[in-house]
């Protein structure tokens, strides 16, 4: 984004030596350990870091806000020559929502379900009291229109559950913009969205910020997104600044090793291999929920042995339903599932233990997929007992073997899930699936809840396991970078149908069917001009 030169010296926000502590286990722990930040009018600063790096805490601190259980232990927040850390909260409250606005990560959770969207959109602006309600509402409708929301005249009258997640995210941007604030904090505003929706929100946000010369702090873990949105980028780790530079500079030539590792994750790629030996095939499957809501129509997919097939598509495309059909949780209304050239019974209840053993699943949320009251030994030991009848010494040895396979040490066997990091939890889930000695593992968005560096580790592990044990993966994901890293074949799904399927290189290179084209061109690239060029070409 270009910066208006006349404003260049006009400092809007200055954070000096910010230190924030959080209270847990009867002690204060540092979250932010001394960060300085300067933002000028009209400038956009990208805050990048893994989860736990303190980027949201820092974002909120720049409003003079700390969450319950946290405190600003040192440092000052100077906003427009006012020291926010010194003035009382009721005084700060006058600035919140009017001169400094916040856009939350999950708009679906951040809109009050009991109130109309328009009332929430104009709430803060109305309080500022510069003009009357009609004018403000009319302005909100104009904002809705400029954010390309459908039916901008009336959409505000709806309740949050009556509009989609992507639309709510845009409405939240309108809400932030409505009082024409000097500063907006965007906290991962597009992380929860599909890539195709993300592009629209990114374009809309960028236009609005540019048009009104609003300064912004843009928090994200997605480097490609920050490359499009920010003038400056600050990389955070463990509550400290790693590096700060202009966007083009930091993307082209990052100085710190940590920044370089962040950048390198996206480079992971794998050679495709063609195999004719089919382990599982789905033939002309239709499926519906409650016999009425059709979710899959005429799906045929075949999965070659020892390879990875990725299913890509946006939410609602039916990709997770395919997994439910294969595992027998949702019997298809027509069509069949064949495994090693035999028909599989449609429902899990009708399948033998041996048939169940051969197909295992790994889920997106490792947290909820494990019993928090069981140790790792019990979690991995259960399928050993159930499928292979192992007990005692034999079971103990096998658990250790499995832990080694997933690159964890033996001592992890006695831990509970709550004592593990996100990546370690997902590894335990992989070990549990491996314990059954399956031929096919269905991976449902297994990396999308993880930070990029951890993601890379998990993907590498899965690839190694495939090479060593000839395991077949069905990979369900919306992330094209993951698809490139792990697949041999790709299936593109849209609205319950298969749009395209084939070898990875064929699918990823033109010519594409329309939907694949849209999907691929919506994936942000590291090139800072990517979004600008995309808008130009549209």
């Amino acid at each position: 984004m270009t910066v208006n030169d006349s404003n260049h010296t006009d400092v809007l926000l200055r954070l000096e030596d910010i230190q924030i502590e959080g209270f847990s286990d009867e002690k204060w722990h540092p979250i932010i350990r001394g960060v300085d930040l300067t933002l000028r009018r009209g400038e956009v600063m990208g805050l990048v870091g893994e989860s736990g790096s303190g980027k949201t805490t820092l974002g909120l601190a720049s409003m003079g806000f700390t969450r319950a259980g946290c405190r600003l232990s040192a440092g000052t927040v100077i906003f427009d020559n006012m020291d926010l850390s010194a003035i009382p909260v009721p005084e700060r409250r006058k600035l919140w929502g009017t001169r400094i606005a916040y856009v939350a990560q999950s708009a679906a959770a951040s809109f009050n379900p009991a109130r109309r969207v328009i009332d929430q959109t104009i709430e803060a602006t109305l309080r500022r009291g510069l003009t009357n309600r009609q004018t403000i509402e009319q302005d909100a409708r104009v904002l809705f229109a400029s954010l390309q929301l459908p039916d901008p005249e009336n959409i505000g009258e709806r309740y949050p559950h009556q509009v989609s997640g992507g639309q709510l995210q845009r409405m939240m941007t309108a809400m932030a913009m409505s009082p024409r604030p000097d500063l907006i904090i965007f906290d991962e505003p597009t992380t929860a969205l599909d890539v195709t929706t993300q592009v629209e929100v990114l374009i809309a946000v960028r236009n609005l910020v540019e048009q009104h010369n609003t300064a912004a702090i843009y928090i994200t873990h997605d480097l490609a997104v920050v490359a499009q949105m920010a003038d400056l980028v600050m990389v955070l780790r463990y509550g400290k600044e790693v590096e700060q530079a202009e966007t083009r500079q930091i993307i082209k030539a990052p100085e710190e090793d940590y920044t370089k590792t962040l950048w390198s994750v996206r480079a992971l790629e794998k050679e495709q291999v063609r195999t004719e030996d089919i382990v599982l095939s789905i033939e002309n499957v239709d499926a519906a929920y409650n016999q009425t809501i059709k979710v899959l129509q005429d799906i045929s997919i075949s999965i070659p042995r020892g390879r990875t097939v990725s299913i890509v598509g946006e939410s609602g495309s039916g990709k997770s339903t395919v997994a439910r059909v294969i595992t027998g949780l949702l019997p298809p209304s027509t069509g069949r599932v064949r495994f090693n050239n035999d028909d599989l019974p449609a429902s899990t209840k009708l399948r033998s233990v041996d048939q169940k053993k051969r197909i295992q699943m790994i889920y997106q949320m490792a947290d909820t997929a494990m019993n928090p009251k069981q140790t790792v030994f019990e979690i991995i030991g259960r399928p050993l007992e159930f499928y292979h009848g192992m007990r005692g010494q034999q079971k103990r040895e096998r658990v250790q073997e499995l832990l080694n396979m997933i690159e964890l040490e033996d001592r992890f066997a006695n831990r509970f899930p709550s004592e593990l990091s996100g990546g370690q939890k997902q590894r335990i889930c992989i070990a549990r699936a491996l314990a059954a000695q399956p031929e096919l593992i269905i991976c449902d968005e297994v990396t999308s809840a993880l930070d990029q560096i951890v993601q890379e580790g998990i993907l590498r592990l899965l690839l190694n396991l495939q090479e060593t044990y000839n395991i077949t993966y069905l990979f369900i994901t919306h992330d094209i970078a993951v698809v490139k890293a792990i697949s041999d074949e790709i299936v593109v799904m849209y609205q319950g149908r298969v749009v395209e399927q084939g070898m990875k290189d064929d699918v990823l290179s033109p010519p594409h069917p329309d939907y694949t084209q849209l999907l691929l061109e919506s994936v942000p690239e590291m090139d800072p001009d990517w979004l600008t060029n995309l808008v130009k070409n549209k």
């Binding site: 919140w96 009050n112 379900p113 109130r115 559950h161």
Partner: protein, 313 residues
């Protein structure tokens, strides 16, 4: 659903009354009555028929709005001064509704306001005082509170009468003075539940992302609770309010006895002592209906305050 519950309740009421030791004919005719007189009297009242026949007779009449004829007033000599149950219950029913209604009109808004303030000033002195006070109030049985209030406000400081003796010709003001102590008792025993649920429901919602969003929009704490939290908290609050209102109507029995208040509760207790079965059954059914009706209303309110149901996609 409410209707099915009512049918089940009617069977239970009938069954329980069947198990009451002794019967009306023996109670009225006395120890000296011969077996023939008792049998003749039982036949006159229809007590000689098998239980299920009597149940269907009773429920059939009940459905036609006929609550039956009270047993009392029948003398051993054959004189019949008995009155229809409906005439006995109706005036007393309005008395009970008056007592419970006034108590509810005070208790519900008071509980909501105290609950909101307790949530707003969570863990403050105010919050703790209200909590300790209201918890103590429900920890004592209602007769204890009644006698305590009589001791304080009728005996030591004689502000209110100890007997809630109302009559038809009283003005509303006189009525309120006379019934002040029973009303305060009922308010005290129902306040705590409603207050604590309001507080808990609101505090529970305070951790929601949309509440944090409201804070970040600079909405003041009071407005956050009233405009953002409360509209989402109605379902649990209304359920507890209905439960307590039902308890008001039912729990009124003990309070009516203590203050000798001419309500349905007192009528029922009198009827039980005289084995006046039609009156006992009718009173029990009135209480059950009130209970079920209030819970039904609560369910309807919690459904219609849910925006997802009120405004479908």
């Amino acid at each position: 659903m409410g209707f099915v519950t009512l049918v089940v309740v009617s069977i239970i009421i009938f069954g329980v009354v069947e198990f009451l030791p002794g019967d009306f004919s023996q109670a009225i005719l006395g120890q000296s009555a011969t077996e023939e007189t008792v049998a003749a009297f039982r036949k006159e009242l229809g007590l000689d028929k098998p239980a299920h026949t009597r149940y269907f007779d009773w429920i059939g009449a009940m459905l036609q709005g006929d609550l039956g004829i009270s047993y009392s007033g029948r003398g051993a000599s054959g004189s019949d001064l008995s009155r229809p149950v409906i005439d006995l219950i109706a005036p007393r029913f309005w008395n009970t509704i008056f007592l419970a209604g006034v108590a509810a009109l005070i208790a519900v808004p008071l509980a909501l306001i105290l609950g909101i303030f307790a949530a707003l000033f969570r863990n403050s002195i105010f919050d703790r005082t209200v909590n300790v006070f209201s918890l103590s109030a429900i920890s004592f049985p209602e007769f204890f509170i009644s006698y305590l209030l009589i001791l304080l406000f009728a005996s030591i400081w004689p502000i209110f009468p100890s007997l809630a003796n109302v009559s038809d010709d009283m003005s509303l003001g006189e009525r309120l003075v006379v019934t002040a102590l029973p009303i305060v008792t009922l308010v005290l025993i129902t306040l705590a539940h409603m207050m604590r649920m309001t507080r808990a429901a609101i505090i529970n919602l305070m951790a929601s992302p949309y509440i944090e969003m409201a804070q970040l929009k600079g909405v003041s704490p009071t407005k956050i609770i009233v405009q953002h939290a409360l509209p989402n908290a109605w379902a649990p609050i209304v359920t507890v309010i209905a439960f307590n209102l039902a308890y008001l109507v039912v729990g009124v029995v003990v309070v009516e006895i203590v203050f000798i208040y001419p309500g349905v509760g007192q009528l029922m207790v009198d009827a039980v002592t005289t084995r006046d079965i039609p009156v006992v059954q009718a009173c029990a059914l009135v209480f059950a209906s009130a209970y079920i009706l209030l819970n039904l209303i609560a369910d309807i309110i919690s459904i219609v305050t849910n925006p997802r149901i009120l405004h479908p996609k």
